[in-house]
Amino acid sequence: MKKILITPKIDRCIGCHSCSLACARLVHKRISWDTAGIRIHSSGGLTTGFTANHCLACDPAPCAEACPTDAFSQRKGGGVIVKKTLCINCGDCVAACPVDAIFQDLSGEVFVCIHCGRCVEFCPHNCLEMKEVENILQEEAVS
């Protein structure tokens, strides 16, 4: 069963950036808190806690629909499959994503969550989880 990254307990987040630093390091081979599938921001000043920008695993995915080269294509279970070699750095996906989940660096390269789950174990407050896709859809339907 396909899994996706969810952040059900992000209200517990302490803003340590361990997750985004891990994603940048392990998935994207960078030292950065930007080039990551999950990025942490204070939700309007530190006294208001934190929010996470990350891919919500759309299906259909507007970013993939917008991509003119198939560098982003629909992933089963939501989100996208990324083929970097096809990417022309146009940034159309960035504009299409409704939740600002895709980061584009100065050279135009784009970074997005591929739902691999590697960041999860780095969160000290268990804010992050990998969920099997069907459960997610049901939960969202009720809430």
Binding site: I14, C16, H17, S18, R30, I31, S32, D34, R39
Partner: protein, 581 residues
């Protein structure tokens, strides 16, 4: 490695220009404390006073910042308004990662702006903005405004000062991202004298991962150490306030201006009480999974009909000592309310609390009265202390203006120096004995974090002058290495020399890794030489009588031992500073 040299941005506020400087010294001065001293020697003016516009205000990070967890601190160095000598102050928040990701090893600010301004830098921009309308604005309000005034990803640090820094108080701090502080020895005034209200550092650079497999291996090892063992439990759980109960039990917790070293009232104000009654949530410095920051909440009814507001105040052991036990305030709410005003005015909460404790005893003894203090001070009266804090932070009259320069300065005019709890600067919360009193009095930063003297006192009842001095030097050298990386000192149990060497090796600093032993001592020496060059003279530091009169778990302080230790440690420091490099 990000680079084999130092990349430093030097901003001249008089000219409104910035310049990138490339400096050598990575393999000797490392970063952090070492780099800051190197930069003061290059840009500083030992013979000129602290408030000369040309004096630099320096922020430096280290070779492991951005690479490893708990490498989360920034070293700030400057000529201190407190004693007009070179000093350092450290803070975390988002400052370290932001500075690293702004593609710098250090930021140096020189000159003075003609009007109140703030500085906004990123890896590819710099802007100085005049912000006269923020004159006198409190720290929290300033933070909110600066956040909205400048666009940014949120991956940035906002350093700012309050009224205390603007009016030159030697106990003013620089607030880093609301919950952390470059607290002691007047960094706020060093910034304020430049007409610099805020510094926004945007961390928008991206670096490649170090080559080879070594880095991820070492990273995993470090991360497991931190999270899988209970090494950090203390900081994770109740946090540093857990020390309150422990120090009270061994008669080492200062109460009511150090008139006592333990009190049964501790159960009302210990770490558990704070956690139970006020703890709202935790927070972390960027790059630190421990999250030692404990944010407390105070609810306040400000109108009838259940109209409430609330404040969030981050607490630690130190402010609970300085604003709690030291002021006889034994209610968590009261402590957080006073701390909230300290935060807003931009005062260092430790120094401010100890100063008010002296003012209270001076009032009791009739040396000063409400004419000076504006409000009637008595131990335990939290509301009066809230008001007094505001009066102190805003330098509301001559008395408070002088007190803000240091308790001993006020005592010199009004009397009461014998009970001023000052050890080089206002004391930290450890009445543990002779080693600590001497270590803080003569320590490089006059900080309880210069070396573990408070821990030494707790383990050694015997008198041993040479043993203490030997310990102080060795421990300080180890900490110099940590503060050059720049690691959080809470992680000193994890980052032992071997592991540090592995870390340095894995990110491409083989020369640093191979020479780790002598580095700490080299930086220790460089710092002391820099300090001595700005006028450090151990004989001019006195230990007030109060410290000779207390009792710890070891029994009464031995005046002769304390004096001998102080003289010998002072001589040892001067000798160390004069030795060949």
């Amino acid at each position: 490695m990000i680079r084999d040299h130092f990349r430093v941005f030097v901003v001249n506020l008089s000219e409104g220009k910035g310049k990138v400087a490339k400096l050598d010294g990575r393999n000797s001065e490392v970063g952090g404390s070492g780099l800051a001293a190197l930069l003061f020697n290059k840009y500083g003016h030992p013979e000129k006073p602290w408030d000369d516009p040309q004096q630099p205000l320096i922020f430096a990070v280290g070779p492991l910042t951005g690479y490893f967890p708990l490498m989360s601190k920034t070293v700030c160095s400057f000529k201190s308004p407190y004693h007009d000598q070179y000093t350092e102050s450290h803070a975390g928040g988002r400052s370290a990662l932001s500075l690293c990701f702004s593609n710098l090893d250090a930021l140096v600010v020189v000159g003075r702006s003609d009007r109140l301004c703030c500085l906004n830098i990123s890896s590819r921009s710099m802007e100085i903005k005049k912000i006269d309308f923020m004159q006198g604005m409190d720290v929290l309000e300033s933070g909110k405004l600066l956040r909205n005034m400048f666009k940014g990803s949120g991956h940035r640090s906002i350093l700012r000062i309050g009224p205390a820094g603007e009016n030159g108080a030697a106990m003013s701090c620089i607030n880093a991202d609301t919950y952390r502080h470059f607290g002691r020895l007047g960094g706020g005034a060093a910034m304020g004298v430049k007409n610099l209200k805020g510094i926004i550092i945007q961390g928008d650079a991206i670096f490649p991962e170090p080559e080879g497999k070594e880095y991820s291996k070492v990273f995993a090892e470090v991360y497991n150490h931190i999270t899988a063992t209970d090494m950090m439990k203390k900081y994770h759980n109740l946090g540093t306030p857990t020390n309150l109960q422990a120090l009270n039990e061994i008669k080492s917790l200062p109460w009511r201006n150090l008139q006592a070293t333990s009190d049964s009232a501790i159960s009302a104000i210990n770490g558990e009480r704070f956690a139970k009654e006020t703890l709202l949530r935790n927070s972390a410095c960027s790059g630190c999974p421990v999250g030692c920051i404990h944010v407390g909440c105070v609810r306040e009814q400000f109108m009838a009909d259940h109209r409430y507001t609330f404040k969030q105040v981050a607490y630690d052991y130190e402010p609970i000592f300085s604003l709690g036990t030291m002021l006889g305030v034994i209610e968590p709410r009261g402590v957080l309310n006073i701390l909230d005003v300290m935060e807003k005015t931009g005062l260092d909460a430790m120094s401010g609390g100890v100063a008010l404790a002296w003012a209270t005893e001076a009032t009791e003894q009739g040396l000063i009265s409400e004419k000076e203090t504006g409000v009637s001070l008595s131990f335990g009266d939290a509301e009066a202390y809230q008001q007094a804090t505001d009066l102190l932070g805003t330098a509301s009259n001559d008395f408070y203006r002088l007190l803000g320069q240091g308790t001993l300065k006020a005592a010199a005019q009004y009397g009461g120096s014998e009970f001023a709890c000052v050890l080089g600067q206002e004391m930290a919360g450890y009445a543990t004995g002779e080693a600590f009193f001497v270590a803080q009095s003569l320590g490089f930063r006059h900080s309880h974090l210069d070396c573990g003297a408070y821990a030494y006192d707790q383990k050694h009842a015997e008198q041993n002058v040479d043993g203490v001095i030997d310990f102080l030097f060795k421990d300080e050298a180890e900490r110099c290495l940590m503060t050059s990386m720049v690691a959080c000192l809470f992680a000193r149990g994890i980052y032992k020399n071997d592991l540090l060497a592995e870390c340095l090796q894995s990110v491409g600093y083989p020369e640093l890794a191979a020479n780790i032993e002598p580095l700490g001592r080299h930086i220790q020496k460089l710092r002391w030489q820099t300090r001595i060059g700005t006028g450090f003279a151990p004989e001019s530091v006195t230990i007030p009588k109060r410290f000779f009169k207390i009792k710890t778990w070891k029994g009464p302080i031995d005046p002769e031992y304390l004096n001998t230790l102080k003289i010998k440690y002072g001589q040892a420091i001067m000798q160390f500073g004069e030795e060949e490099k």
